[in-house]
Symmetry: C2
Subunit: 370 residues, 2 copies
């Protein structure tokens, strides 16, 4: 199964194991050279992310933090790294998987008390460090996210490699009204064939169901991807693959408030906390379809006034490098000016079909997608 | 399609429409008799729920609140009821559906300003009133819940009536690793055939994925239903139907803390706020499989200390009529005594297979299900 990065599902597992073992080998080398063993990890703060024009996503800058065995605390950290690498290498060899939470509890069974995790924050952080240092995604270590992906409806036939064999599924003809459930690791999916013209990621379940009931996916050859609020990693990964491999434009349809713009931001640009994953998860070409502050004015939508927390969030978005474009500055300034926000389901004030008959076709036309 | 209550999907829609119109007709009768139009609704507080030994669930008692046109405010309420009934009757005639949120926004298009809703709380409450007074579930009015159901994996073949035709789906062979996505209205499902011995409802996604990875559903003929925290109405409805129509024992597997016992409570007994729905949604025969406070002791599981909010929640459960059984009093007292809580994934401290090889088989055996 091929992905945009040229990795294969099986191949990347092999890679992942190798890179983990390389990392452990590096500690041996340091010992051998008489160096104090250490591991450098990029500093993960807002001031240390920068735009990578080649990948078109935000990535970590050059600032590093060092985990070193020159203190008891640091030595213990590296001990935990070694035990975790050992566990993960075994897990990959046995073709099994686990969650972050299981790893934390599993450590209680390790023979050395000092290697056990004191909190789940500690084990989560360690796995993130390993992801960054080895440049391998957690899913390739077979660490499943706690939170599963959302669902897809549209003209796409795919093959999913499950642990009970392959399944061929058409995301309209072979699924119920609820659609196709995205697995935890969407790199187990092969795209077979499709009649899709674009991807429409939708924030709320209510709107997703409206589009499906109105047959929007069928009439407009849209792959409707339900985000369900802040999207899971699996959902973002699948969206990226739909864009990169099937060459489909990606649009994001959310409520018209600052929290929803962040949902768009996480689909398009990734997040600061996981900037190392941007190249796997982010779809920089994703376009925001709405609800735009401009739409609130133009379509005279029902609104609520901005709360103080909304105003603060909008102001902080103006400072966020991901939103420093003319488009977003204009929209955010407009929203602060009109002092209003609106939900995507507010489009129902013109009837249940307005969103599929009028709003989305008009926006898609403006955006050059239809 | 038949359900335990002897209703049919199509038939019940007809019924729903009739009952709504009867309700409107009742206002006409009141006018005609020279009475002030009014509508009685059971009072929805903890003191007005009581145990119905026949249905084995908690239902509203005899205390009523009256919505009457003897004040401007009351008259406006009834006006909104009439407009809502008109909308719902049309919706049912056209075989369409909508969400609570859409209803709220749609009211902006109504010709009479006084009939429009001022807040979504108001429209939500009105629909709940209509459910209670007409004894018809919201889903039968074709009001979709905002939140969709979770997913099922196990030896069950079903037919779902979608708005694009019927789909036959086997919940192991025809789905990906993510399972079968429960639709918003699970009464569109017909159960065709199954090899299931019991239903296992699971709180967390991480544990659900563990069971599926370990092939627990296959080895033990279990229908694994993912609850995903507090379960959606659709998930509870499907669980009840699996119990009533397929005669399968239902077990609920959650974390070992007071919030999770409430998840069990909502599957088994329903909630106070929706006691009128208990007979459709609750499965009083559902058994709690764990994590029990007893298990924390017996299996010496990794724990966290109880927070103050946990202690308060446990104490309030001791007062909750749904938990006033010897079993629950014993378990809750034990938990207050040991002052500890544990997560279901804590079973991983004995390895990734402990839950499927040891813990669940032992518990199912104790409970007489295996």
């Amino acid at each position: 199964m091929s992905t945009d990065t040229g990795e294969t599902a099986d191949g990347s597992d092999g890679d992942a194991r190798e890179r983990l073992i390389e990392l452990a080998a590096q500690f041996y080398d340091q010992f051998e050279r008489g160096d104090v063993p250490h591991m450098d990890v990029p500093t993960r703060t807002k001031t240390n992310i920068e735009y990578d024009p080649e990948q078109k996503v935000w990535v970590y800058g050059d600032r590093k933090s060092t985990r070193s065995a020159n203190s008891v605390r640091g030595a213990q950290k590296l001990l935990k790294v070694i035990y975790s690498i050992d566990f993960l290498a075994n897990q990959l060899e046995e073709d099994r998987s686990s969650t972050l939470r299981e790893l934390y509890y599993l450590s209680e069974s390790w023979d050395l008390d000092e290697a056990q995790f004191n909190s789940q924050d500690e084990s989560n952080q360690l796995i993130e460090d390993l992801e960054i240092v080895s440049d391998v995604r957690r899913e390739e270590f077979h660490m499943r996210p706690e939170e599963s992906g959302a669902k897809v409806m549209g003209p796409l036939r795919l093959r999913e490699q499950t642990n009970r064999g392959d399944r061929e599924i058409h995301c309209q003809d072979d699924v119920g009204q609820g659609g196709y459930q995205i697995p935890n690791d969407p790199d187990t999916i092969d795209f077979l064939d499709n009649d899709a013209d674009f991807v429409l990621c939708v924030e709320t379940g209510g709107m997703r169901d409206r589009l499906v009931e109105n047959g929007f996916d069928d009439e407009y050859n849209a792959l409707v991807v339900h985000l369900g609020g802040q999207p899971a990693r699996a959902t973002r990964r699948l969206t990226k693959r739909l864009h990169d491999e099937l060459d489909l434009p990606v649009t994001v349809f959310t409520d018209g408030d600052p929290w929803s713009y962040r949902i768009y931001g996480s689909v398009a640009y990734g997040s600061i906390k996981s900037a190392h994953l941007s190249k796997y998860l982010a779809t920089p070409e994703a376009q925001f379809i709405g609800v735009q502050p401009e739409d609130i004015v133009e379509y005279d939508l029902p609104t609520d006034p901005l709360a103080d927390s909304d105003v603060n969030a909008l102001e902080s978005e103006l400072e966020d490098p991901r939103f420093q474009t003319d488009y977003w500055e204009e929209q955010i300034e407009l929203q602060l000016d009109i002092d209003k926000k609106s939900e995507q389901q507010a489009l129902a004030s013109y009837g249940l079909d307005f969103v599929t008959d009028t709003y989305l076709p008009e926006r898609l036309d403006e955006m050059g997608i239809l």
